[in-house]
Symmetry: C2
């Protein structure tokens, strides 16, 4: 099923008639293809569904290429990132190529689908800038954080889900709600895993978010639940290279204050909302996506 998506993605890049680009494309670490799975589960295995899945994955890959440049990320999924191997400029240009090729193919689908997906990319791009801006200071505003992860992560998953429903003639609103909550929960689980998992498992450095200035949900919960002295200590570690002791202190405090557990609980709550949205649909597969996503360990 996903093989056909990979094949179509490759075909889109091949249509650019440039060997160098195709070589670079093959060096991009492949992801979980969550968005493709989602689209095929909702829209079925039609030609247009495969095409939409390939387009959304191409666009997602483009966003990660730029993301890794913005975040100075040198590894992705346990492999060297494109910017680590070929430099930031190549990543920017390859990202632009994947974006524009994705948009071009998108214009061959129905207009409401093309609008939905491209509008999500606009939100995603705004979300990236918000993320960087929030990372300038120690952010404790949960509302700003949720708005940012909605735009940066959930919007494209929401659009994937909604546009697949459009393709299949299903009720768009409920799939949109499903996708949005899935996307939010996905990001929160990602934020938790950054703290709880070892770097080998993550395929990237562990506890890297805080060093990057990202006070994700567990950090906000923690900050809210510790005394003034500890608040100062936590703030003093913000954006710093954490020592082993610092990491242990943060993790222990998060355990003590249930900051990690409550973040997971919140993700589960969002997962349940996603499931509730599609409760009247014949959608065992979509329920499994939620379950697997929450229970994943990388």
């Amino acid at each position: 099923m996903l093989e056909k998506v990979e094949f179509l993605m490759k075909q889109m890049i091949e249509s650019l008639n440039d060997k160098h680009i195709l070589e670079l494309f093959h060096k991009i670490p492949k992801g979980k293809r969550l968005r493709a799975k989602l689209i095929l589960k909702i829209a079925g295995l039609s030609d247009d569904a495969y095409k939409l899945a390939a387009i959304v994955e191409l666009i997602h890959a483009a966003s990660l290429l730029h993301d890794d440049v913005i975040d100075d990320a040198l590894t992705r999924r346990g492999k060297d990132s494109i910017n680590a191997v070929f430099g930031n400029k190549t990543s920017i240009m390859l990202g632009d190529i994947l974006y524009s090729k994705g948009f071009t193919s998108l214009t061959t689908l129905a207009q409401n689908i093309a609008y939905k997906v491209s509008n999500a990319v606009a939100l995603l791009s705004v979300g990236e800038l918000l993320d960087v801006k929030l990372s300038e200071e120690f952010n404790t505003n949960e509302e700003l954080y949720m708005d940012m992860i909605y735009k940066k992560t959930a919007s494209l998953i929401e659009a994937a889900s909604a546009s697949a429903a459009m393709l299949a003639g299903k009720n768009v609103e409920i799939y949109e709600l499903y996708g949005k909550n899935l996307g939010l929960a996905f990001q929160i689980i990602d934020d938790v895993l950054d703290i709880t998992q070892e770097s080998e498992k993550l395929g990237k450095p562990s506890m890297h978010d805080f060093k990057e200035g990202k006070t994700t949900l567990p950090y906000m919960y923690l900050y809210d639940r510790i005394d003034e002295y500890e608040k100062e200590r936590l703030k003093s570690l913000f954006k710093k290279d954490l020592s082993k002791d610092d990491k242990i202190w943060i993790k222990n405090k998060m355990q003590e204050t249930s900051s990690l557990d409550d973040s997971i609980k919140y993700a589960k709550k969002l997962g349940l909302e996603a499931m509730r949205a599609i409760r009247d649909e014949d959608s065992e597969g979509l329920k499994k996506i939620i379950k697997d996503m929450i229970e994943r360990d990388f």
Copy 2:
């Protein structure tokens, strides 16, 4: 006429509901709006024509934001570039925002127009990578150079012209040919001006292309027309900071060998082909665009 285009561009950015982005947007140095003028001249002053003009200018601005990062350009149109003031990362993110917002608006126009313009952006992105790749070594292959400037510069001008014709129900092929030749001529004149004009006039450093590894048409003509000893000298200056004497030597040699004149002649020839394409159309304005473009001094 162009004020309305500026207004629509601003409106598109405002619809993102983010003050920070709007502030950044206003700091982007404004260009000649060649593409907007072209669209309005061909399609007339309808609402859709204004919209298309604003979209294409937004997309063009996005491409320049990324371009300046790729080329390490610190000035643009006599002003500090966005990357010079706010850093590369902000330029990348703002470029992505302008691109994706442009694509989103594009999906509200007719499908053939949306396809044409987005496909041109894919070519443009490929052209950017080709440009960087060609700049790695001293390139003397005129065919590769022409293919690169077609993709990087002419494709979007070609698409602007063709999509405006689609909008107005005019003969698309002849306007496409017009736009393509206009775009090619435009880039060659740009390459000539880089050599002949002072930096104050250009609004960017003069004779900067060669330092960036770009052996543009006048350099290729020159290389072809000098002896072995001079060829070595020219090659030794490739990608170097040029001294005043080096610059004078190159310019004198280009004069002697008619390399600049012949580049201008070639641009004029392309300009004539553009005019010939639209010879049966009522298009004084379009002929004037060609004339002004070739005779411009910055």
